[in-house]
């Protein structure tokens, strides 16, 4: 047939395709004769540059104070102020502490919010003892500080510092979320002054 005898266009010929492929391979082979250096080979050199001079305390305290995780425990009406501090209007996550841990073993901070009765005291003490070091306690509201209104009651602990050591006291009945946030900032300042290579006074 006539059609079969017609010569095919050059573009489609195997010869041309093979030729362009071969040119490409030759080009890459010529360009890449020398070994490429490991960009991270500077790590093998002696570290005589690229380091920061700082005290270990400052670094440790900075990282600790920037991620204080509170334990999820509420005793009385002050707990509602703590809840609203955690939600979006006041937003405790600005301080890296939005994660309220349901387990005391994963938490750093115990916010004692509200009236502590003698019947509840053993449970609160157990929560504190289950927390891993370093651990901090905030006494929130006048009931937690001193027993408050119920100080003379037969059933109420007059101040939570009779049971566990307290780092920051926040007065109010109940304290507003701004007050709790201010107390938390005070705790951050306190953590930043901590000395980590001396023994902390145990409770």
């Amino acid at each position: 047939m006539e059609l079969n005898n017609q010569p095919q266009p050059e573009v489609y010929s195997d010869k041309i395709l093979d030729k362009t492929e071969g040119e490409g391979v030759e080009f890459v082979k010529q360009q890449h004769q020398i070994q490429i250096e490991d960009p991270d080979s500077w790590q093998n050199e002696e570290s005589n540059h690229n380091f920061i001079l700082a005290s270990a305390d400052a670094l440790i305290n900075w990282s600790r104070s920037s991620s204080v995780w509170p334990v999820n425990a509420g005793l009385a009406c002050c707990a509602f102020e703590m809840i609203s501090t955690a939600s979006s209007r006041f937003d405790i996550s600005r301080f890296g502490m939005e994660i309220f841990r349901p387990s005391p073993r994963q938490a750093d901070l115990l916010i004692v919010n509200g009236t502590l009765t003698w019947k509840m005291a053993p449970q609160l003490k157990r929560i504190y003892e289950q927390m891993a070091e370093p651990k901090y306690v905030i006494a929130m509201g006048s009931c937690a500080i001193s027993g408050g209104l119920f100080r003379n009651s037969y059933a109420v602990v007059p101040g939570v510092n009779k049971i566990i050591p307290v780092d920051v006291y926040i007065p109010g009945c109940p304290p507003r979320p701004e007050a709790l946030l201010y107390g938390i900032q005070m705790l951050h300042k306190k953590i930043k002054k901590q000395r980590n290579f001396e023994k902390r006074k145990s409770a």
Binding site: W118, K119, N152, Y154, A155
Partner: protein, 147 residues
């Protein structure tokens, strides 16, 4: 609204059933002697026309020389109410018959009174502390309680 019954009329019915049981009756309140407590409670619950089948609450008062146990009774059938008070004579060792057999809801509240006032309810199925812990000394709602 719930009708408050005239105590004098109910007291007359009680007197007819148990002579000499009432001490005082005025307004919506009847005060009766402690030995008639269980009988009067059963009577008020079952008597036709009274039918106090619901116990609103149960509490106690310390009048320094004697205790009073107060029952707030309601009839859901007739929609009327009455306050029944029982005067306890023995302050040193206060004792009263339990009404848990008449109104089952009295169970926890009698335990509360036992815990905070130290009033012993005889015939209660499970009379033990409900608020305070074992080993607590004294009865905190008594007037002479000192910490």
């Amino acid at each position: 609204m719930t009708v408050e019954l005239q105590a004098t009329e109910v007291a007359a019915k009680l007197e007819a059933a148990f002579p000499g049981c009432t001490i005082e009756s005025s307004g919506n309140t009847i005060v009766i002697k402690d030995e008639f407590a269980l009988k009067a409670a059963t009577f008020l619950k079952n008597a036709a026309g009274l039918d106090f089948n619901y116990l609103n609450f149960l509490t106690a008062t310390d009048y320094q020389t004697y205790f009073e146990v107060i029952y707030d009774l309601v009839s859901l059938e007739h929609n009327h109410k009455l306050v029944l008070k029982i005067k306890l004579n023995n302050r040193e060792k206060p004792e009263l018959a339990s009404v848990t057999g008449v109104w089952k809801g009295a169970d926890f509240q009698e335990r509360e009174i036992f815990d905070l006032f130290g009033i012993n309810f005889t015939g209660h199925p499970n009379l033990k502390r409900i608020f305070l812990w074992e080993g607590f000394q004294g009865y905190p709602l008594r007037k002479d309680f000192k910490q």
